[in-house]
């Protein structure tokens, strides 16, 4: 019972991160109908920026934890968003209307480039930072087993909730959100109505990258260990989450992230940690086969 509760907490934390990354996939897919293969690397870049900021703060003697956290968030989000914008400008925008394989290959090229870029500039070795703070809330304890909701985990879940709420507000209530949804429905019509489609697409990439940066920072807080290759697996898992929730659907991405996080936590705990990635991939294949629209997605009619 206690063990299961602990896994629930771990899964929730993990799922929050996957959900944040998955939103980026789902938004880009919604607006330009392609998988942004480089999105996992954007998350990795966000994590590196968080580590860099943390180390900078330590070196400059900036002490109190909340200030460090804010600095990490700000720097990581700002620079990662710039990377997201640049990726779209360089790898995808020149390819509007190109043969359908072209943007996919370009995306993979971008992903390979970014991974090697970070490896070459920052080194291939693991970067680890000490935990920002220890301890947490003890939820349950038996004679030799305690279920704790660590402070870092709590931060991850709370920050994710706040970010997602703000994001949902933006999509449903602001004029950018309306333009974004209009471009998703019909980019040509949106352009005729005076919406700057290019700008909207750019903003979509920026937002997706910003959310991935938050996820990257959460990963640093939670695990404290990163390297240049973390984007690959995290990217596939978040993509699975987006497909599971229904690609194109933002609530679906959050739900999918949560489910994937929980599956992974419980699979590792009760079945076999070595095959946890296999479990996620199997979910991806099964969903695509039996319910390609996902849990919350709309049916997609083949246009002839």
């Amino acid at each position: 019972m206690g063990y299961a509760l602990q896994q629930l907490i771990n899964g929730l934390t993990l799922g929050a991160m996957y959900g944040l990354i998955a939103i980026g996939y789902t938004m880009v897919y919604g607006i330009i109908g392609m998988i942004n293969f480089a999105h996992g690397e954007i998350y990795m870049i966000g994590a590196f920026l968080s580590v860099l900021t943390y180390v900078l703060c330590t070196a400059l003697g900036i002490g109190p934890t909340p200030l460090v956290l804010l600095a990490m968030l700000f720097v990581s989000v700002a620079f990662t968003a710039l990377y997201g914008w640049a990726v779209e400008r360089i790898a995808y925008r020149p390819l509007r209307g190109a043969p359908r394989l072209a943007p996919l290959i370009s995306a993979i090229g971008m992903s390979i480039f970014l991974q090697n870029y970070v490896q070459l500039t920052q080194g291939a070795r693991i970067k680890s930072v000490p935990p920002l703070w220890q301890g947490g809330v003890t939820l349950w304890s038996a004679d030799d087993f305690r279920v704790t909701f660590g402070w870092a985990q709590l931060t991850v879940v709370v920050v994710t909730l706040i970010v997602m709420a703000g994001f949902a507000w933006m999509i449903t209530r602001t004029s950018f959100g309306r333009q974004q949804r209009a471009c998703e429905q019909d980019p040509k019509m949106a352009a005729l109505l005076g919406i700057d489609v290019d700008r909207t697409i750019s903003l979509t990439f920026i937002l997706g990258a910003a959310l991935a940066a938050v996820a990257g920072m959460m990963a640093v807080l939670q695990y404290g260990v990163i390297d240049f290759s973390i984007g690959f697996i995290a990217g596939i898992k978040a993509f699975t989450a987006a497909v599971l929730g229904g690609i194109g659907s933002i609530p679906g991405a959050m739900l999918g992230g949560l489910l994937i996080g929980l599956v992974e936590a419980f699979w590792s705990a009760y079945l076999s940690p070595e095959y946890k990635d296999v479990a996620t991939f199997s979910i991806l294949v099964l969903v695509l086969l039996f319910r390609p629209t996902g849990l919350l997605g709309k049916p997609d009619v083949e246009k002839v």
Binding site: P299, V301, E302, V304
Partner: protein, 270 residues
């Protein structure tokens, strides 16, 4: 004479939208039938149902075989409609294999016969006489249609590099190479200049008279419809509102209302 095809109370829904709403019609054998109607009337959706791209929500599409038997096409898988029922179509927004030459396009249309002769590519790899014969026949068949449609000169040109009007003809030639019994053309005159449009009239008539084909086509260009069709079906809001010979359709009050609009039109259809 029995019709070639009977559409029986066909319904096609997408989510909450009903694109075809209990449509019944018959396609007479060896004749040219035009389907007309305002935009959004469900004409292309009808084509997509006939050629197996959509699975209808309800209703039947019956093909009357020469021996008098019937076959329900709604149970047939997409690609088997072209292969077995021999209903072949063209597309409103031309779908050629753009990087391949015109001749290659025409050979792909004969894929089934050629693939059988090549026996899972084995006979083809070994270059057996049987495969060589099948390949020669396919080339000869393609050559005949190329000549008939005046495409011989561009046979070795990539299809995507040709002018629009020529691409339309290539698409028809390719469909013909699939040896159809019923040829469905989705707006064959769209984007053609008057001269090309007149040539199309001649071609369609020739296909009916000299090759005994049954044709079904969607068209907005009334000059083509009036000149070549034997039978006209008028659709609006997913239903058939009139059918008959072209001259009669021109005077039909329902048809005029559908095209020119009238104030109670929406009320009547809702």
């Amino acid at each position: 004479m029995t019709p070639l095809l009977t559409v029986d109370r066909l319904v096609m829904r997408f989510g909450g939208i009903t694109a075809i709403d209990g449509l019944s019609l018959q396609v007479p054998r060896g004749a040219i039938t035009a389907v007309i109607g305002p935009n959004g009337a469900g004409k292309t959706t009808l084509f997509n149902c006939l050629t197996g791209f959509y699975r209808p929500s309800a209703g039947r599409i019956l093909l009357h075989e020469d021996d008098g038997s019937e076959r329900d096409l709604t149970r047939l898988k997409g690609h088997r409609i072209a292969r077995e029922a021999r209903i072949v179509r063209t597309f409103q927004n031309i779908r050629l294999f753009g990087g391949m030459t015109v001749l290659e396009n025409l050979l792909v249309a004969q894929h089934h016969a050629l693939a059988q002769a090549s026996r899972f590519a084995l006979a083809g790899l070994l270059h057996t006489p049987g495969y060589r014969r099948a390949e020669r026949e396919a080339l000869e068949f393609a050559r005949r249609w190329l000549a008939e449609l005046g495409l011989t000169a561009v046979a070795d040109t990539p299809a995507g590099a040709l002018p629009y009007g020529t691409q339309r003809r290539v698409e028809i030639a390719r469909a013909l190479c699939a040896r159809p019994r019923l040829l469905c053309l989705d707006e064959p005159a769209a984007g053609l200049n008057p001269r090309e449009s007149a040539e199309l009239n001649v071609l369609l008539t020739a296909l009916r008279d000299e090759h005994g084909l049954t044709l079904l086509f969607i068209e907005h260009d009334m000059s083509v419809v009036m000149n070549v069709s034997d039978h006209v079906v008028v659709m609006n809001f997913g239903r058939k509102i009139a059918e008959g010979p072209p001259e009669a359709m021109r005077r039909d009050p329902e048809v005029i209302r559908a095209y020119l609009g009238e104030e109670d039109e929406e009320a009547a259809d809702a």
